[in-house]
Symmetry: C2
């Protein structure tokens, strides 16, 4: 929970932040609309807005652009210059880096597709550093100044640390990213988080207020299966930062052994490797996973019985594991993201059947849908986490004048 | 998340509340200690304390009782008069009602032991009304004024409502307690909550700050198995208020059918009925459940193999369901409360074995222990929820002078 403000100074910071979020949510907007949105007087809002204009966070678009009724005020928007967030994802088969400005626009994006699983941390992080350098340079050329760097990884990250405790599909173990990542320019604050968490945050922040989705489980599958749990609009991180390990919820307690030490975990039925194996599809060479999944999809479309059976089994297992999660968490929605999203037409029917049969509370079966954020969810969530840290407490990022 | 204060008025309310919580946590305490604890100046604290003395929430104990070093200040304590919380539990076999004063002391307690499962809501709630009348009358005689009534029920309660959607072990369905409960005296605000939730809150509020248990799953078994999930010191309620249905987490997806519509739910292995059936122990007549559980315990102590096998199976099932919960939530502790607490010597070893083998993250196996709150947990949590609503925002409860 946020610490409540105890001083005038903290209250002013909070109110500056609320004005910025109001502009971020409403697009170009007048002072009067901001006042109405956040429940402060017009005079207070004007004072706050002047400060934010002076500090370079807001720009004035001139009269007549606020889109409202009545006398047009000068519409305000978030600057397209100044602080930006740098977000990165280290995937098993790809690297992605982007720069997002305060208005939430992706201004620079770079990526490469190469298998990272066998390359070793040093080599992967060296390539990531070059990508970061390019993105930071291009962002600078566009008038943007990185306010921080956030990195999504497919592994367990200790809470409030930059240490990847374990990323089995990368073969990493106790890898501290702070020791490896140093993009050009002044040092940046670094945040590291499980990719499923950043994907869930992207869903929370980018899917629009209208969806009213503030309680959901966002399933995020690449090679492993993770989940980001958002409750009351807050990411659930867990005591050590390890919450959301949906892939290791027991589905058949006496089922196949899992690398985690357990047996019958969800990943043994719905993980990519298990799914492809059950469908009799081999993974070959670089880019092999993507090609194999495309083959599975094509076979399912052709009605291939082995593929359909494997998908039904995976969907059922997802439904059983998610029933446990739904009975414990009572979310409004379950969202399927990552690699599994492309297989939703086959996975969702058995998944929803299990949920309907097994959810304990009547009328508490959550909505099940495909995630709105695409495959860039983790890097977008990462970049936006930096942007939001600026919007939360803008003054330290003000332009010196 | 608490709404941040946006005005002087809200900031004052928040600070009055912080002073009261500081006194509640530290026992008799000087103004200087309060200032040190909450990080306000001594002058601000003195002003706040004067207001709380005038309003009747604090009393001054005279010099020399603060227990600290240096010049003794006048020690302050919470009043033993004035507002109190009334808490009640509707159990399957009992009713409990208590009154708790602002200092957290139980001042009145009444209970009866009778099976409520077949009696029907009207009859049970009529008996509860008489108990409530006696407790409110006795509390009044002790100088206490009920500030609210909170009721724990073994069923699903819609969030922010007084409606029991379903309480299978009572045979209740859409029973709105507001329509039935009317203790003597002025009308009281009513809060209704699942018993597992109030038991978990009692654990959070009453087990002492020192335990640092602010992230835990509190398993609460009576006839059914529920859980209260506390994360970062906040109860997880879920979108509809139905979170914590641990009893219906699938343990063996193709296991025995459950009344919830699913199959192989935890309750089918570790619920009281399943446990007694597996041990070959029959439940007979009124008070039969308690007697049967005592018999199970006695037989286990004597080394009866059927009883030990039933307990091992239940402990293992608890461990499987809790592994799912632990992998999703990453809590610091798992606490066993309710009827299962008495069987902990037999349940915990297999439970912990499953947790150790199946928890995905290394070093993330939570502490497993027996709950510190006894069988009165639900009614105590209920009463304290009222007390805390007074401490949160005291002024509406001030004594008129």
């Amino acid at each position: 929970m946020a610490v409540p403000p105890n001083s005038q100074q903290e209250m002013r910071q909070r109110n500056l932040s609320r004005v910025l979020y109001a502009v971020a949510a409403a697009g170009p907007v007048s002072r009067a609309s901001i006042a109405a949105r956040i429940g402060l007087t017009r005079a207070s809002v004007s004072t706050l807005v002047e400060e934010l204009l002076r500090a370079g966070f807001l720009v004035e678009l001139g009269p007549g652009r606020s889109g409202g009724v009545g006398r047009p005020g000068n519409a305000l928007a978030l600057t397209g210059m100044g602080p930006c967030g740098i977000g990165a994802e280290i995937g098993v088969d790809h690297l992605t880096v982007c720069a997002v400005d305060l208005g939430g626009r992706v201004r620079v994006r770079e990526g490469d597709e190469r298998p990272n699983g066998e390359a070793g941390a040093d080599s992967v992080l060296r390539r990531l550093n070059s990508l970061l350098d390019r993105v930071v340079t291009d962002a600078g050329a566009a008038g943007l100044r990185p306010a921080g760097l956030a990195v999504a990884v497919p592994g367990l990250v200790s809470r409030s640390s930059t240490n990847v405790v374990r990323a089995p599909n990368l073969g990493w173990h106790d890898t501290d990213l702070a020791a490896h990542l140093a993009p050009a320019g002044p040092p940046l604050p670094l945040r590291v988080e499980n990719e499923a968490n950043f994907a869930a945050l992207a869903e929370l922040w980018l899917s629009g207020e209208s969806t009213a989705r503030r309680d959901f489980i966002h399933v995020s599958a690449e090679v492993g299966i993770g989940a980001g749990v958002v409750l009351d609009g807050e990411l659930l991180r867990g005591t050590r930062g390890f919450a959301g390990e949906l892939g290791h919820v027991p589905v058949q307690p006496d089922g196949p052994r899992c690398a985690c030490g357990g047996s019958g975990c969800l990943e043994q039925y719905a993980g990519e490797a298990a799914l492809l194996r059950a469908a009799g599809i081999a993974v070959r060479g670089a880019g092999g996973r993507t090609a194999a999944l495309a083959r599975l999809r094509a076979r399912a479309e052709d009605g291939d019985e082995a593929s359909l059976r494997a998908l039904r089994r995976a969907g059922k297992a997802l439904g059983i594991a998610l029933t446990g999660a739904v009975n414990l968490l009572d979310p409004r929605a379950v969202l399927l993201g990552g690699a599994l999203a492309g297989l939703a037409p086959w996975l969702l029917p058995p998944l929803e059947r299990e949920l309907r049969q097994r959810t304990a509370a009547p009328d508490a079966v959550p909505e099940v849908a495909v995630s709105a954020v695409g495959s860039d969810g983790p890097s977008l969530g990462a970049a936006h986490s930096v942007v939001r840290s600026v919007l939360d407490d803008p003054l330290p990022y003000a332009v010196a004048r």
